[in-house]
């Protein structure tokens, strides 16, 4: 049924000159209905060779990351180092609304395919360039794999245990963020063109795309000249606060934020433990009295008044130990679903398996099964749901699969 409805970007053509950093941007456009023509070098995008693969068997149409990032696109192969092929690309430009690229700054200009050259071929073209550091500034020519972007954006500094080196966020988050910003900027430029007829350049620097993800660190330094550092599992607090942070369940981990505003109070967690017969001595004093007032305000008070704080430390430590034992005796899904049922701020620390089996994602039919040459593969689905113009994904193309179709039409 959904297939009969319109797509938001139907009729918009995108020439996709991206590799690793920008592929997710054009996937977002393609799944919204744009006709995205991926231009691959002869032999195909090198990202096709990066595992993991379907069935652990390498092959150009089996890379899971590649298959995911290239849904709904068509593919042609062109050698941009070859003038005859560049001419073929130039012939396509008048048919296109948008070009997205993630080459090193200046590379397309050197091939006479930069914005100024493309604008000669189509005046209102939108050209989106996704790079590590943008097209200006002293770092513009720096090599910028994901780790360079997240390091320079202040994100690694905040991640990890203080005893370890700064941590790399999983999953090329620098690339993802640059791509997401680029998709937003590109669609905004498209809207501007709809209204005014004017095209333009969209520039995304991976570093700039991520800087806002430092949360409060930038403002803390700007306002108080203090550097926020990585604090590991328990946050910046000198002691373990019962119910805050990661706890090990019998089969994995959960994350608590119990007593924070928005969720049920700690006394409800104590009730949960008592219902399961695992409250130990927490219904007795001094524990019960502390639990009844165990919220952010109480904890802030302890931090402000260290003398008072010291008095309560052994009590808090004991409550934490009992809660730790409670978690260790229960499964992570139990703690998550039963806890949330009681409106306690408890989250499961999902593994990929948990995500695949998550009942909420299942009930909402989040995952998509898509048939391809490697068989049926299951994919994470829509990042957003549009009621009139549903998101939809079809399989990633084989390298050059649509060369004849595109160039001859």
């Amino acid at each position: 049924m959904a297939d009969q409805s319109s797509s938001a970007l139907e009729g918009v053509r995108v020439l996709d000159l991206t590799g690793g950093m920008g592929a997710y941007c054009t996937k977002l456009l393609a799944d919204l209905g744009a006709d995205v023509i991926k231009i691959e070098p002869p032999g195909g995008d090198p990202a096709r060779n990066i595992g993991p693969f379907v069935g652990d068997e390498p092959g150009p149409d089996r890379s899971l990351n590649f298959l995911y990032q290239n849904t709904s696109k068509r593919s042609i192969t062109l050698d941009l180092e070859d003038e005859a092929d560049r001419e073929k690309l130039r012939k396509l430009v008048p048919t296109a609304d948008i070009v997205v690229e993630d080459f090193a700054p200046g590379y397309l200009d050197s091939l006479d395919l930069g914005y100024d050259a493309l604008r000669q071929l189509r005046e209102d073209i939108i050209v989106t360039s996704i790079t590590g550091f943008g097209s200006t500034g002293p770092h513009r020519d720096f090599l910028a794999p994901d780790i360079v972007g997240v390091a320079m954006a202040g994100i690694m500094w905040l991640a990890g245990d203080p005893e370890d080196p700064p941590n790399l966020p999983f999953g090329n988050q620098g690339y993802f963020s640059a791509s997401a910003q680029a998709a937003a900027g590109t669609t905004m430029a498209l809207y501007h063109r709809d209204v005014t007829g004017e095209g333009q350049q969209v520039e995304v620097s991976m570093q700039e795309a991520l800087l806002i993800a430092q949360e409060t660190a930038m403002q803390a330094y700007d306002m108080t000249k203090s550097v926020r550092n990585r604090a590991g599992a328990r946050g910046a607090l000198p002691i373990s606060i019962p119910g805050f942070g990661p706890y090990e369940a019998s089969d994995g981990w959960i994350w608590g934020y119990v007593g924070a505003p928005g969720g049920a109070p700690w006394s409800d967690l104590l009730q949960y433990m008592a219902d399961e017969g695992m409250e130990e001595d927490l219904l007795e004093e001094p524990y019960k009295g502390v639990i009844d007032q165990l919220n952010i305000r109480f904890l802030t008070g302890l931090a402000i008044n260290p003398e008072e704080g010291k008095k309560h430390l052994p009590t808090l430590a004991h409550i934490n130990e009992v809660f730790t034992r409670f978690c260790a005796a229960k499964g992570k899904w139990d703690l998550y679903q039963e806890g949330q049922g009681r409106r306690l701020l408890i989250g499961i620390v999902s593994t990929p398996e948990d995500l695949a089996k998550n009942p909420q994602l299942k009930a909402r039919e989040y995952y998509e099964s898509i048939e391809g040459s490697a068989g049926t593969v299951r994919y994470p689905g829509a990042p957003y749901r549009l009621s009139e113009t549903p998101w939809r994904a079809t399989r990633a193309p084989q390298a050059g699969e649509h060369t004849a179709q595109v160039l001859e039409s």
Partner: protein, 420 residues
């Protein structure tokens, strides 16, 4: 990003911003800095929680000076409407009648209570683009689960996958999905919907389940389980197809803190994705004896990765990360400083030259830094015209100019705690 006379991309677009915390306000702010008129709706009875969370400028307090809140609320008008009153709800619908885009990340239960579901909005504004960002969706068995604060991140899987395997799954140290992944997915969907409305006249409902949006950014690990039954485990800073790929300790420096002088450990990252880059790295190190032929292939480097990292660390520890970065980048090796907030604000000459950070004067907070745009439009750049909105700062302006109320009506609404 100087102000210019050019029409901005979203000029004429009106946004009713009923969101709070970060995922909604950041998306709305990006519309505001690109020319849309954004009215942020809050209430003394339902204030944005970030107003109470620091950092605050030294010596200042109150709910208008939080650096956390202010960074996401520049270029907005602020009106206080108490949505727990009938009149407040009516005014909200009048604002929505005015708007092209409605956005909220408030939980579905409360949205229903306030009468702000899409079906209700459509009655007053048939072509509205109504954007909802529930934690896990507006339906399904977990729709009312709480994801506030640090809880959503772990549920999305990023905690399990980030960090060292011998540590608890501590995640990124921030509520990471709130700042880029969710707001920029949202903004992309809004812009696509505006394009479609411009063509067809049709509005629509957009729902971004924050969980679903973030899992989309962790796809390969989930697909690896679904295709291969493999449960990926966090593996520190290494990648299967690169070596070295890690953070390395550099020379400690002295810094000034509010408590006096202190040591600060410094770090750099170095990565080689090809044998060519490895050759360049070896060369930059001065071809040391240890870097023999055993390291010349990726397989060889992966096999001896502990040793490789140890030896590189012995080289980096005597240098400043800025020097490591310059030396290696000049040699053709990916390398960078692990920057902190002081670095990005004060030392990063590149960001300075590109004028990334924007400094705005705020009546109560003073002159403070704001994050600049995450994307740059060459002809219609972002403009940061006004500092963060204060609670109720534009009540009169919004009531008169947008809602068309008289002075008497405004006075009554204040007394009745509707404009509250």
């Amino acid at each position: 990003m100087a102000a210019n006379n050019h029409r901005q991309a979203l000029e004429g677009i009106k946004v009713a911003d009923f969101s709070w915390f970060a995922a909604g306000p950041i998306a709305a702010q990006a519309m505001g800095t690109h020319g849309a008129t954004v009215v942020r709706v809050e209430s003394e009875a339902h204030m944005d929680g970030l107003r109470g969370v620091g950092p605050f400028p030294t010596g200042k307090t109150g709910y208008n000076v939080s650096g956390y809140y202010n960074n996401y609320n520049a270029n907005k008008l602020n009106v206080t409407l108490n949505l727990n009153t009938d009149k407040g709800k009516q005014l909200a619908l009048r604002l929505i009648e005015w708007a092209d885009v409605f956005i909220t990340n408030i939980t579905p239960r409360v949205i229903e209570r306030w009468g702000l579901t899409y079906d209700e909005l459509k009655q007053v504004s048939p072509d509205i683009i109504a954007v909802y960002q529930p934690m896990q969706g507006a339906d399904g068995p977990h729709r009312d689960f709480l994801g506030f604060g640090a809880v959503l991140g772990p549920i999305t899987g990023i905690n399990h996958l980030t960090g060292y395997p011998n540590r608890a799954p501590a995640g990124l140290g921030t509520n990471y999905p709130d700042y880029v992944v969710n707001p920029m997915h949202t903004l992309t969907a809004i812009m696509a919907a505006l394009h479609y409305r411009n063509k067809t006249g049709k509005g629509q409902r957009i729902e971004l389940s924050q969980l679903e949006s973030v899992v989309a950014s962790l796809a390969p690990a989930v697909m690896d389980y679904m295709a291969n039954d493999r449960v990926a485990m966090r593996s520190g800073n290494r990648l299967p197809h690169a070596a070295p790929h890690a953070a390395f300790p550099c020379q400690t420096i002295k810094i000034q803190t509010v408590f006096g002088e202190a040591d600060e450990a410094r770090w750099c990252v170095i990565a080689c994705f090809s044998d060519e880059q490895w050759g360049a790295l070896k060369n930059a190190l001065g071809d040391p004896d240890w870097a023999d032929a055993r390291f010349d292939s990726l397989a060889g480097r992966k096999e001896r990765e502990d040793e490789l990292e140890e030896k590189l660390g012995e080289w980096t520890i005597a240098q400043l990360p800025e020097d490591v970065m310059r030396t290696l980048q000049a040699a053709g090796v990916p390398a960078a400083v692990v920057q902190n907030a002081r670095d990005v604000l004060e030392s990063d000459e590149h960001l300075r030259e590109r004028d990334y950070y924007v400094y705005l004067d705020h009546p109560e907070a003073g002159r403070t830094a704001y994050d600049g745009p995450g994307f740059r439009l060459s002809k219609t750049p972002a403009e940061y015209r006004t500092a963060a909105c204060m609670l109720g700062e534009h009540n009169e302006q919004v009531c008169k100019e947008i809602l068309g109320l008289s002075d008497e009506e405004i006075a009554d609404l204040m007394v009745e705690q509707v404009l509250y």
